[in-house]
């Protein structure tokens, strides 16, 4: 399962197996979505598969995720999603009422995100060969002129902004999957980020890079940017917004909130001269009310993410290996 965890094992699989096999300059960008030019139009193109258990969780379902996940991957290129494809892989025996519920959620999420499901496919696998329902969505959207979001544009001095509280989706899933009670209901932050990104681009099209910190959490997103840009990244641990319930759940399980998945957050690297205005625009948007400056890109320690701890020490924030494992004590 580590190869699907969004950490070092996932990166290795892509770099050593998929990228050499597929070739292609576009794939080499290795972004959440690909930026391609077709018939004079600049398109963002992305695909993602959803295998979440359970299918329904506090704050959403696999149907919501299947839309928002792909819509957000496109948004990280600056694109507003226009069309989605939707492929269902159903396990023999899953009840049609469950399929209908997931479909209804998916349709509602698409309408909320302003994207149309334009094509689809259904396959059924034998009982025991799936977890009820798997969904794949692919999406396309137009990238506005003057927008060029990629990690290679990051320069020392860029300000790092996170759009809100981290760790909610991962903890919400854990609480239902493992039957754990954290004393407070934690709800997934699953949401479409296209509108928030448009609000940021309205301030300046000159944002440098955006990332959607899903699998592997904030730590994985920052490490990907640091590695691809060659810049060092410093974050101030005390400034990262971690909800109390997420902090408590992580303390109980011995997990680090920096590595817990999000589904409605973004992390942005913004030129210093635009940072205040972008932050104001984010805070004026419902999905960016808790937006916070958490750090900056630096010349030191190229490719590494370093946290300044609340006590004044420092530590490296590494890419997770596979999935985080709860600690014994």
């Amino acid at each position: 399962m580590g190869h699907g965890g969004g950490g070092a094992l996932s990166a290795e699989l892509v770099q050593h197996v998929f990228a050499p096999a597929f070739g292609g300059e576009v794939l080499a960008q290795l972004g959440d979505s690909a930026a391609v030019t077709l018939g004079g139009a600049r398109l963002a193109f992305s695909t993602d598969s959803y295998v979440v258990r359970p299918l329904f969780f506090p704050g959403g379902s696999i149907g919501d995720l299947a839309v928002n996940g792909t819509v957000n991957d496109l948004a990280m290129s600056g694109a507003r999603a226009a069309y989605l494809s939707c492929g269902f892989i159903l396990e023999e025996g899953v009840e049609l009422s469950v399929v209908a519920r997931v479909s209804a959620d998916l349709g509602a999420a698409a309408r909320a995100a302003g994207v149309e499901v334009a094509t689809g496919d259904t396959k059924v696998v034998e009982a025991g060969h799936g977890d009820g329902i798997y969904v794949n969505t692919a999406g396309i959207g137009l990238i506005p002129d003057g927008v060029d979001l990629r990690p290679q544009r990051v320069v020392p001095g860029d300000v790092v902004i996170v759009s809100g509280e981290i760790g909610l989706h991962g903890v919400a899933i854990m609480s239902v999957r493992e039957g754990l009670e954290f004393g407070v209901d934690v709800t997934s932050d699953c949401a479409p980020l296209g509108g928030l990104v448009q609000a940021m681009l309205a301030v300046t099209p000159d944002l440098h890079v955006l990332r959607d910190p899903t699998r592997g959490g904030l730590a994985a997103a920052l490490n990907e940017i640091a590695a691809a840009s060659g810049a060092g990244v410093v974050i101030h641990e005390g400034r990262v917004p971690v909800p109390e319930a997420v902090g408590n759940a992580c303390a109980i399980l011995g997990l680090d909130p920096f590595y817990v998945a999000n589904e409605g957050k973004l992390v942005a690297f913004v030129p210093r001269e635009h940072a205040d205005a972008v932050l104001d625009a984010m805070r004026a948007h419902p999905l960016g009310r808790r937006a916070t400056v958490i750090g900056e890109a630096v010349e030191a320690h190229p490719g590494l993410v370093v946290a300044r701890t609340g006590l004044g020490g420092t530590r490296v924030v590494d890419l997770p290996i596979g999935e985080q494992l709860p600690r014994i004590c």
């Binding site: 197996v17 005390g238 701890t309 006590l311 020490g313 530590r315 600690r327 014994i328």
Partner: protein, 378 residues
């Protein structure tokens, strides 16, 4: 859980640090026993903030790290059997045995499940009466009572398809072993607060007096660690060597009587091998004769498995505080969290993994990417 924030307060931390800086007049070497404390120290950068004269030596108190290789191999052997559901805490799944780990057993079709309590494993046993359910019972005095209670429950409820693979260890004999080692540099101990919350403090005064070392019972949040260090340094500077409880909000001198009674009923003290250190007399527990039927080693006939450690792994010296992780030639090159030679590189409570994950800025650059081996998807 507001109290956690209070125990990470930067202003209070600064005051404690100022006090330590003002108190210390010469070099002292303190050992924090517990891996959880090591994790806090490195994660929060506490070692960087202490005076240069105060050296923290990382002790053997990471339960994942000290579980012997042969016990991991026994776990792998049992977990590979088609009639077994093997249950474990999460961080044991990545610990390498001889050539593979429990994740690999799972990818090969073994039914290996992460649970959050041994009682979850007992529930799985009741739900699957046709299969054998084994729980991997490792750890110190902290995890032993719930494991004991689970076996007690299994016997009381007559659940025959549950058993425990036991590798429990005890802290005081390890302190004794460290102090009697000819190369010992430890001058004071930060004792593991959670262990003392179960066992109390009765075992420590004799150790402190005989070895003339301060022993400060210490918690796990940054301020707990700093307060433990502060009290230990004060004693050292004054030439004292008493047992001091700096974790009174969790530790009573008598410990937890109910937990102690459960341990007394289910387990008996035995010699136990510690990974990287060797056998320490009376340092472990095994199931007592009354509960021997629930011992997975006997049930699955794996008692004769014996294993050799990789020669280049120096985790034993790390666990005894004889070397720092980066002083091992394999650190960060042939041994990384991705390809660990020893358990100290596997668990984030292990000193080697903590140094690799959090301290690479201060150390020689390590190999960033390992070559892709002919390995399965995990």
């Amino acid at each position: 859980m507001k109290y956690i924030e209070e125990f990470q307060d930067p202003e209070l931390a600064r005051r404690l640090l100022d006090d330590i800086h003002a108190t210390v007049t010469r070099p002292w070497a303190l050992m924090e026993v517990c891996g959880g404390q090591t994790h806090t120290i490195i994660r929060h950068g506490i070692d960087q903030l202490l005076p240069d004269q105060v050296e923290l030596i990382h002790g053997p108190g990471c339960p994942v790290c000290v579980t012997p290789l042969e016990v991991i191999d026994k776990a792998l052997e049992i977990a590979s059997r088609p009639d077994v559901i093997f249950c474990s805490f999460g961080d044991m799944l990545r610990v390498p045995g001889s050539g593979r780990d429990l994740f690999q057993v799972r990818s090969e079709g073994g039914d290996v499940r992460v649970v959050y309590s041994p009682l979850d494993a007992l529930r799985i046993a009741r739900q699957n009466p046709a299969r054998e359910v084994v729980f991997f019972g490792i750890g110190f005095e902290t995890t032993a009572p719930p494991n004991a209670m689970t076996v007690h429950q299994a016997k009381k409820l007559g659940i025959p398809n549950f058993s425990l693979l036991v590798s429990h260890v005890r802290v005081p004999p390890a302190i004794e072993a460290i102090m009697t080692s000819p190369s010992c540099r430890v001058q004071a101990f930060l004792a593991a607060g959670h262990v003392c919350s179960v066992m109390g403090m009765a075992e420590y005064p004799e150790l402190a007096a005989r070895h003339r070392v301060p022993i400060v019972v210490t918690g796990f949040e940054p301020l707990d660690i700093l307060e433990g260090v502060r009290r230990a340094v004060r004693q050292l500077e004054r030439g004292e060597h008493t047992v001091d409880n700096a974790y009174a909000r969790a530790v009573r001198p008598e410990g937890n009587p109910a937990a102690l009674a459960m341990l007394e009923d289910v387990f008996e003290v035995t010699d136990r091998a510690w990974r990287g250190i060797g056998v320490i007399p009376d340092s472990g527990w095994r199931l007592s004769a009354r509960y021997r039927d629930y011992d997975a080693e006997h049930r699955f006939s794996v008692t004769d498995i014996a294993t050799q450690e990789p020669a280049e792994c120096r985790s034993g010296e790390v666990l005894q505080g004889l070397i720092k992780p980066h002083e091992c030639e394999a650190f960060g090159t042939t041994c990384t969290p991705r390809t660990p030679l020893g358990a100290t590189m596997v668990s984030s409570e292990g000193a080697c993994a903590a140094y690799y994950l959090y301290r690479r800025l201060d150390l020689a650059p390590a190999a960033r990417t390992a070559p892709l081996e002919a390995s399965p998807v995990v």
